[in-house]
Symmetry: C2
């Protein structure tokens, strides 16, 4: 088919969606009885839904303009009803399984499978006392974890964004492959990566609580979950280096806000904090917010190994907010580093690149 | 809502589908522009699609008759187009992500989470020489695997059915919870469970090969994959007891046929073979099929620790075929055991019960 190829996110043997050499994407759906079919999604495909055209047999197709490389969530609008594309794998985003398409980035392979030693991705189930529910943390263990049984490892806690869950960083983000490749290249130290679900509804939440109260309690419950349950569990069940120097907390978007909110107020637990496309909402009072740590630059800079921020140059909302946060940090004399992902939006390609840039800075790597 | 409850397979916070105390299920879909919406699925919900009814706002609902307990795949037909229900989690079945609903079985909890020690579920990635592709085996390690670092374990290789993949036995089948619970109750010995994807297309398959030839090569490639790649890899990467006495091969439906086909012809590798709702197609010639092992009952019965078959009493097609296979085994004097799951069809509840009945028979448990 003239240089086009089936997307690697297609279900087994599906010929469409197809990627063109110039990264245009052709979608195809069989819907003989539909009156209108559109393809819609996040920033990476285009801001507006694409109208598909029907042929005589009821097969609808459309070819988009060249897409930004990376992973994009998308969906179909069939007579206005949002459904997933039967031809693509689904990924947990927007609070439910959502179709995804991988658009390759020419010449870039830091998140591909290479012939290097691979770590394992584990699903670590546990009953949370705080939520009363069964939860599953995703845990990456580095190559050699099962054989070098005396070795102990630093831990990166890595959070997903709003509407996603503990599967996002591996399935959409390919965090395991990024870390495998960095370790193999000697660019990052072997580490454990813990990916939790960033939602926690406390057992005790009274029904009918007013909304702002509920949000506060959910935010507080996740903080308690990380500090009181997850970190101790990981230190007990894995061969970690169980001190703040060997723990980092990072996240993307909502997870970035959580990383700042939890990490900066628990510097006894985390030595490094990073927010990918995630900065605090609203005005920050350095004397009050984050327990006031931003008001004492000398203590902060001595104590914190690394405060790291990133954003994609095409994610309009966040460029400005990250800039404001940087200015605040500069005014306060708080040391930090910033990475900008060129040309990418509030999407996984920004966060893959962020992890790839951030992980080598961790744990003396 | 009067005794009904949201299905546990619903996406976060979705109120529908809802299960009634008598196991009727109410489905609900918002599709204002659709002219017809139906719910359809496998044997567990009912043989025919259920027509949904539209209200004035374009919300469609239907309540089914009482459903058979267990996990059921299903989908929506919106103006005849098959799509998933946006309110339910998806599971890999029918060759793609497919909606699933869990209908609880009153008084039955052998596949639920209990407060017992839990094993881990690992995704073990590797590059196959036979397929040339990156694959991911799902590996269950029992409680204590990471702490009792001298202990070695027997291995159950456990295959899914047609259209499913290496995620099926955990996500739909809850194999990890079934084994956790059996181990905790002292009813099964701690074991590793390896769940592979039952498809393997060999690198060398020439394009345009005739179909029967292709099928033969794919069947042979999966056999080689199991024997030459997966078993040696598992023995190298996990603390196994690496001999035939401590290896079992089992599978459901297509996976059951694979277990018989591969297991009975590689009795040097596997000491136990089991087929859940899966028997060979067509007539069997004991002198020829399975390398002729069924024609020497004395050698077979001495060598094979256990040949184990199961089926659901409501899966019409398979009851008869299992019966024919049993008669053949009886005629040949081949020792075997059979388990019948009462009232269940060609569905996961049959296979959960099969695993629950089979695992205690393994490895001297």
């Amino acid at each position: 088919m003239d240089g086009t190829m089936a997307a690697e996110t297609n279900v087994r043997d599906a010929a469409y969606p197809r990627i063109h050499p110039d990264l245009r994407v052709t979608f195809r759906v069989v819907a003989p009885n539909a009156r209108s079919v559109q393809v819609a999604g996040g920033d990476g495909l285009g801001p507006e839904p694409f109208d598909m055209e029907r042929d005589a047999e009821g097969v609808w197709t459309v070819t988009t303009p060249p897409a930004v490389p990376g992973f994009h969530y998308y969906w179909l609008l069939v007579d206005g009803m949002q459904v997933n594309d039967p031809s693509s794998q689904t990924y947990f985003g927007y609070g439910r399984p959502t179709s995804g398409i991988e658009v390759p980035e020419p010449g870039v392979d830091f998140y591909e499978v290479h012939d290097v030693p691979h770590g394992e991705v584990r699903s670590h189930g546990y009953r949370s006392r705080i939520t009363g529910k069964w939860r599953q943390a995703t845990v990456y263990t580095p190559p050699g974890y099962d054989t070098d049984i005396e070795a102990r490892y630093p831990v990166l806690y890595l959070q997903h964004g709003a509407g996603e869950d503990e599967t996002g960083w591996v399935r959409q983000g390919r965090a395991n492959l990024i870390i495998d490749n960095l370790i193999a290249a000697g660019q990052a130290v072997p580490m454990i990566v813990v990916m939790e679900c960033g939602y926690a509804t406390p057992v005790a939440l009274p029904p009918g609580s007013p909304f702002p109260e509920v949000i506060k309690k959910i935010v507080a419950a996740f903080e308690r979950l990380v500090i009181d349950e997850v970190v101790p569990m990981i230190d007990a069940d894995y061969r970690t280096l169980p001190d703040r120097e060997h723990r980092a907390l990072a996240g993307l978007s909502m997870g970035g806000m959580q990383a700042l909110g939890i990490g900066l107020t628990h510097l006894d637990t985390f030595g490094t904090v990073a927010a990918f496309s995630g900065v605090p909402f609203g005005d920050i009072d350095p004397a009050v917010d984050f327990g006031g740590v931003l008001s004492d630059p000398e203590a902060f800079n001595r104590r914190v190994r690394l405060l790291w921020l990133s954003f994609g140059s095409a994610e309009a909302r966040f460029v400005e907010r990250v800039q404001q946060f940087r200015e605040l940090l500069d005014r306060q004399g708080i040391a930090h580093e910033v990475y900008e992902s060129p040309g990418t939006a509030h999407e996984w390609q920004t966060w893959r690149r962020s992890l790839h840039a951030f992980a080598p800075r961790l744990f003396g790597g």
